[in-house]
Amino acid sequence: MRLNFIKKIIFAILFLLPNIYALEKGNVYLEMGGGYKTGDFGTSSRTNLYYESPSLGYITSTYDVNITLPYLSLTTGSNNVNDIGDTILNVNFEVIPEENNNFGLDSAITLKLPTGNENKGLSTGNRDYGTFISFQKSLKEIKLSLSTGFIKTGDSALQSYDDILPYGLTLSKIFAITNIYASLEGRKYLSINGSNPLAFYMGFFRILNKQYSLKGNTFLGLNKDSPDFGIGLGVVRWF
């Protein structure tokens, strides 16, 4: 039954939407990104994470389908593990275009496949399902985005996990060919004692030329549930 379920979800994500908009041409892109995070998550031991997160995607004016397979290097105290992480399959699609309307509405569905090793602490050992929605409104030169969603986490044989309610508020502005943004992002883990990581992000997205873009971000954790600090950088190649 589980296998059938995975097949159906993968079918929905990878084939349903692209087929509906099959006539629309888009661009293939490859993103090579990576970064560093550090934090203690409210425990006595500090954890450092170096990650690489290559993504392959196809984007049109109405939808974006992509897959990300990260490689993680996780260090807690003297323990270090290096291995692939969980695979993320994602479809974003535009529900209401901002053009010709006063606001825009996007939605996304995301599937996390447990390709990471649970015993090494790189995965929950089961798949997660996420649905997201994002509201955008241009206020003169500044764009405001509000987003939220729901992540249904799968439990493993060893442990049960809380479902997650992610939320965020982003302000962005284009300077020349660079988009600068600042955001407040949080995730509420849905249980009585569930943690609630909250962080302040700043980042940019810069068009280098017709084929390459550069993106980067840095964040500061605002509570003990969040990593303390992190930085990420990526290059996008357009085909």
Partner: protein, 155 residues
């Protein structure tokens, strides 16, 4: 288009919801949560959920850039196609076509200059998008007229 998107959105949410409940055997309420344990304290877990929610943030900027590139390529392709097929044009159409090409060339130059000097802003990008849209419509209209002419001749 919006209606179509809303239907697709509703379908997907229903699909996911039904499948999720089926998968859980309706046991969401019964699922035991271990309250003593602080969940998701591992950086690996945090990274996965972070990546899932981050995907939405990047999407819009990527889409803007992709749209611009696509519109330009389409327009150039249509112009090239029109020329290759030797569309017969009267003086008015020839002038219209020449103006469009001049406009297109001007826009490319503008973009190039703006990129160099760092003056390109969201408003400019929107203007260019609208210009390209108008040009696209004109081009479609010309192609349609040509097709109708050919159909009349064949009759």
């Amino acid at each position: 288009m919006i209606k179509k998107n809303l239907i697709v959105l509703s379908f997907i949410f229903c699909f996911i919801s039904i499948q999720t409940f089926a998968e859980m055997g309706g046991g969401m309420i019964e699922k035991k949560k271990n309250d003593d344990m602080k969940m998701h304290k591992g950086m690996g877990h945090d990274q996965s959920s972070q990546m899932m929610s981050d995907k939405m943030m990047d999407h819009k900027m990527m889409q803007d850039m992709s749209n611009m590139m696509k519109q330009m390529n389409n327009m150039m392709g249509k112009m090239s196609n029109t020329m290759e097929h030797g569309m017969s044009m009267d003086a008015n159409k020839t002038k219209e076509m020449a103006d469009m090409m001049k406009n297109m060339s001007g826009m490319m130059n503008d973009m190039s200059e703006q990129m160099k000097t760092g003056k390109m802003d969201h408003e400019n990008m929107e203007k260019m998008k609208n210009k390209m849209k108008n040009m696209n419509e004109t081009m479609d209209k010309m192609m349609k007229e040509k097709k109708q002419e050919q159909e009349k001749k064949s009759e």
